[in-house]
Symmetry: C2
Amino acid sequence: MNKFLININGELFNEENAKISVFDRGFLYGDSVYEATRTFNRKAFRIDHHLDRLFSSAQKIELIPSYSKSEILENINQTIKASAHENILLRIILTRGTNSDLGLDPQLASVNNLIIISKAIAPNPDWWLKDGVSMVFYQKTTNTRGSLPKTGNYQENILAYKNAATKGAYDAIMINTDGHITESTTSNIWIIKDGILLTPPLADGVLNGLTRKTLIELAHREKISFKEQSLTKADFFSASECFITSTTRNLVPVTKVEGNPIGTGLPGQKTIELLKMYLEFVAKT
Amino acid sequence: MNKFLININGELFNEENAKISVFDRGFLYGDSVYEATRTFNRKAFRIDHHLDRLFSSAQKIELIPSYSKSEILENINQTIKASAHENILLRIILTRGTNSDLGLDPQLASVNNLIIISKAIAPNPDWWLKDGVSMVFYQKTTNTRGSLPKTGNYQENILAYKNAATKGAYDAIMINTDGHITESTTSNIWIIKDGILLTPPLADGVLNGLTRKTLIELAHREKISFKEQSLTKADFFSASECFITSTTRNLVPVTKVEGNPIGTGLPGQKTIELLKMYLEFVAKT
């Protein structure tokens, strides 16, 4: 049973045959936007939010979609239906299209390419919840502010990840040029400090994560003390708990930063409660 | 006669069949480096410099090439030999490879993909030399410093180009967050002011262009008054001449910036002399 099933402009391919023109602008220039979502009960989770964000990312890079949201949704549902797997990750990539010539001019491509990569989801490893993961900081060289678009330009995040892996850490916590914590390379980051749940505001140059958004909604609903607040390294070292959120991995406890234990050095009690609350919520969708 | 001929890992394809896996990291994350060179007399121009810079770009993004320089050169020469055209542009793309799974981890790809796109070069349009081209400024949001790697992350340059095209300009002159002029979207930029030839230093966040490098060598040889110097918008408005350099386009006179004429508003005399000197040099290679 294939782990992957790929939909390219409405046609289904297995891993070996899923190919795109070398003139595709995503390949040539990273000129694409994307979303990553997953299914629960064979249904794409909060897909309307993902499609809204995909179109918002497209707008930020002045990409005018040649696919409508309902056409993209149709291709997503076609992929879910054809997949042999109960739970899949869906990476939805919209590129500015195939160039008729080399060159940056967006007018060289008139029709987008829509690529949906579906992948069987493995459950999170047990040790994530038992021991938590470790992180190191990474100083970004860009001073991009505001809610970031999700694009095919991931060079800096790759360097951040690679640097963390070299140091034996699970992932990196990125810092913007103002010295503010932003996010991890493919997830949002949170701490609990003085009993308050904290995460950096989008304005600091953060991806508007949908698990982040869902958790904020749940915190409000459950009257959990919560604030969006600019955070520094020092806040992490004085935090009692820390975790990351991602669509595919839900909540993952972070128990060590730069080799120093966060709180007790074990997954925090509030983190586990938030994870439980989150999983109960998604189970009902 | 096909305009394009594409070499993918040593195999030749025409435009329609030149495809790459959607798991290629260049496609997924812009995780690639590249070079653009051209042939003169069916020989790749200063190819040793280009291969050196390709490997230097790779080093900057911590990409360890699985191809040696001589293997890449072999594929380049194979492409030139197979091409039906006398003068071709060569875009040499080295991606970190095809991922075995989704994810930023560079270890998910063990072998690079080498793609060489060759294209018949059309001569520069006559009006470039007769009238010159117009430019507008573009404020970058990144404060990257030093000599830039040439990677598959070109989103910001695309936005800069698009903004210029919307305003009816030929291209954009980019400004870093320190307020210093860096380069155009795919070329280096120069002015002549008080009789001195000036171009921004690499330290301001500039690509180490090989036509730029060649012209600096020629300026030294010919004892032309030249300085690498940080430049601002104001320098452009008080310049007597302006031009850009690019491997495929050589020197192109810039006669208007933000709607204001540079000098007389016609291609400058020194620019034409430098172009003549440059063409004489490359004709002998």
